[in-house]
């Protein structure tokens, strides 16, 4: 019996560096082609869904850094996304557009930002959105650092989760009261809408940077803290410092997502309350806590489910996607409680081993059929 199992299992593959490099380039080119195709598609829905997937993936990845890799539950991540959103919104509406209006007429501004058709961005438009997003990310990182310093040294586990929930609610309340008219009053940011290429670019950048981070000594330290904080501390990891670092980096990317979200379309502050935080948590739990790959699988799955599948269902379902989400979450917890990927990450070794496994599986299926036909 044992021999049989060994025979049918695909051996672990170790791919050469050359193949890895070529595979990576092919993957990036494929992704670029897809985003260009979506950019040029005539459908109204498709680019929107794609953009949303990119933005939410960035936010979910940033949450996964704290929840998955550091192992601290954060329930107010929507608050950080909101900060990024607000910074980007304020910058566009109160700094950039007024500055442009001083020097030229509104129609001229649009000529600078958009091309003649008014659908594609000019370089200036790209520059504004990219600059906005980066500034939003930096300012959110400062907020993340402050929250981290206040909270992380004192609390952990459930207490930390509750406090972050509190911070999330406070941010939403503050914004609601400071900008009472909502984000629609002066909304020139909604006129400055990003393109799929742009969002896709930021997503790739986020994945790249976070992977680098988690593979460095900082990432190793952060995972060690998740596994055993006391052992990590006695191995020379400055636990508190690394926790704050993880929190800050996480807030940075949450702010980036928020900053980009501003150029996706107008939202209200309430949309960033605990519902968003829990939604992001759902994405990472579904994909697997501690696996960026899992997040990148789960977020598109759920977004596509939300935009394409639920719409077909009766109105009672499509208006309340939370019912479906809840059922999905229960099922995942019951049948695969580590999520889709567990803590595994995508790697070319893993990918080619998986390919071999699939090949073997089909071979076996065909053999069975042949033997059945023969008998």
């Amino acid at each position: 019996m044992k021999n049989k199992i060994k025979k049918t299992q695909a051996p672990k593959k170790h791919v050469s560096k050359k193949t890895q490099l070529i595979s990576t380039i092919v993957a990036i080119v494929l992704f670029a082609v897809v985003s260009v195709l979506i950019d040029g598609s005539s459908s109204l829905m498709l680019p929107k869904v794609f953009n949303k997937i990119c933005i939410f993936s960035i936010a979910a990845l940033s949450l996964n850094l704290v929840c998955g890799n550091l192992g601290e539950l954060v329930l107010g991540h929507g608050g950080f996304v909101l900060i990024g959103y607000v910074v980007s919104y304020l910058l566009t509406n109160y700094v950039i557009f007024p500055a442009l209006q001083d020097s030229m007429a509104m129609s001229e501004i649009y000529n600078v930002i958009y091309n003649v058709h008014g659908s594609e961005l000019h370089a200036a438009g790209y520059a504004i959105i990219i600059g906005n997003a980066i500034i939003a990310a930096l300012i959110t990182a400062v907020f993340g650092y402050i929250v981290g310093v206040i909270v992380l040294g004192r609390l952990k586990g459930d207490y930390l989760a509750i406090v972050t929930l509190g911070f999330g609610l406070v941010f939403v309340c503050l914004v609601q009261n400071l900008i009472p008219n909502g984000f629609t009053s002066l909304n020139s940011s909604s006129k400055l809408t990003g393109t799929p290429m742009l969002f896709a670019g930021f997503l790739v950048l986020t994945v790249f940077l976070l992977t680098m981070f988690i593979k460095s000594r900082f990432g190793r330290g952060i995972i060690a803290i998740r596994e055993d904080a006391i052992a990590a501390e006695s191995s020379g990891i400055p636990v508190n410092k690394y926790k704050i670092l993880a929190f800050t980096v996480s807030a940075f990317f949450a702010g980036l997502a928020g900053g980009l979200y501003c150029h996706f379309g107008p939202q209200t502050a309430v949309q960033f309350n605990q519902d968003l935080s829990i939604l992001l948590l759902l994405y990472i739990v579904l994909g697997g806590l501690g696996s960026f790959t899992g997040t990148l699988i789960a977020t598109p799955l759920l977004e596509i489910l939300n935009s394409y599948v639920l719409v077909v269902l009766p109105a009672s379902f499509s208006n309340n996607p939370k019912i479906i989400y809840g059922i999905l979450l229960i099922c995942i917890m019951l049948f695969k409680n580590k999520g889709i990927m567990g803590t595994n990450e995508f790697g070319w070794d893993w990918f080619y081993t998986l390919l071999d496994k699939i090949k073997l599986f089909f071979k076996r299926v065909f053999k069975k059929r042949k033997s059945e036909v023969a008998s």
Binding site: E227, E233, S234, I237
Partner: protein
């Protein structure tokens, strides 16, 4: 005791109080370079508490701790690692979802200095330090005969090997003083034998000073230079293994007064 040797750890009048309980009371010890000291005592005598005080998990109520000539009484645990102290735990604490190699690599963090900038741009500093860490980790794993398991998960190792890995991780910090908290707990006699060999070996190989908590008397009497016995937080005896064996106070502490 050789007086010419450098002092590694000096503990003076160390006490800690949890509520009304004095877990460690007026403890003194002076450990010189290269020695192997045993710390024994009945259950609940305060041995592990003492370890936690020395490594900085607890702050003492009174007293001072000097490590390699540096006062570390108010230092954080991870900063004490820099001055040259490393420890293992009574119940094995490994980073279970990480591979054997990563477990050891983590402990080299104090010797790595690249920042976020180097991480993002993969600078020369980053590459060099990562390469050095990997090579050093493999070198240490080789010493502990763990190299063949380097890509396995730490928890997939056998119990004795997990103990070894914990010691390997501690050695990765370039420690001068290694504190072993009941390394033979839960081991069978042959594993204990192997552990004794490992401890003697790393002592020779690294010239390291070792402070050992252990219940296994054969192990303690066999390898220690001298032994301190504590009970109810107080030192009751101190001396060579043979002296301890015949010490009346020790026998009373372990077996009770007749």
């Amino acid at each position: 005791m050789n007086k010419n040797k450098k002092g590694i750890l000096k503990v003076k009048k160390l006490s800690i109080q949890f509520g009304g309980l004095k877990a460690v009371d007026n403890f003194n010890i002076d450990i010189k370079e290269g020695e192997l000291i045993g710390l024994i005592g009945p259950n609940g005598a305060g041995k592990t508490t003492l370890f936690n005080l020395i490594t900085g998990v607890y702050q003492p109520t009174v007293g001072s701790i000097t490590l390699c000539g540096q006062d570390v009484t108010n230092m954080n645990t991870h900063k004490r690692v820099l001055t040259g102290i490393a420890r293992t735990f009574q119940n094995i604490r490994l980073f279970s979802s990480m591979t054997v190699l990563e477990n050891v690599m983590v402990a080299n963090n104090i010797n790595m200095h690249y920042g976020l900038w180097d991480t993002v741009f993969h600078t020369k500093k980053y590459k060099q330090e990562e390469k050095e860490t990997r090579e050093k980790a493999i070198r240490i794993l080789k010493i502990f005969d763990l190299e063949e398991y380097k890509d396995d998960l730490a928890t997939s190792l056998a119990y004795g090997k997990q103990r070894k890995l914990e010691i390997a991780r501690a050695m990765m910090t370039d420690a001068k003083l290694l504190c072993l908290d009941e390394p033979a707990a839960g081991m069978n006699p042959s594993e204990t034998e192997e552990l004794m060999k490992t401890i003697s070996f790393i002592r020779k190989e690294f010239g390291i000073t070792i402070l050992l908590i252990e219940h296994d008397m054969k192990l303690v009497m066999g390898i220690c230079d001298w032994i301190t016995v504590i009970n109810f937080g107080k030192t009751i005896a101190c001396g060579k293994p043979d002296e301890i064996r015949n010490n009346h106070a020790v026998i009373v502490a372990y077996l009770g007064d007749d």
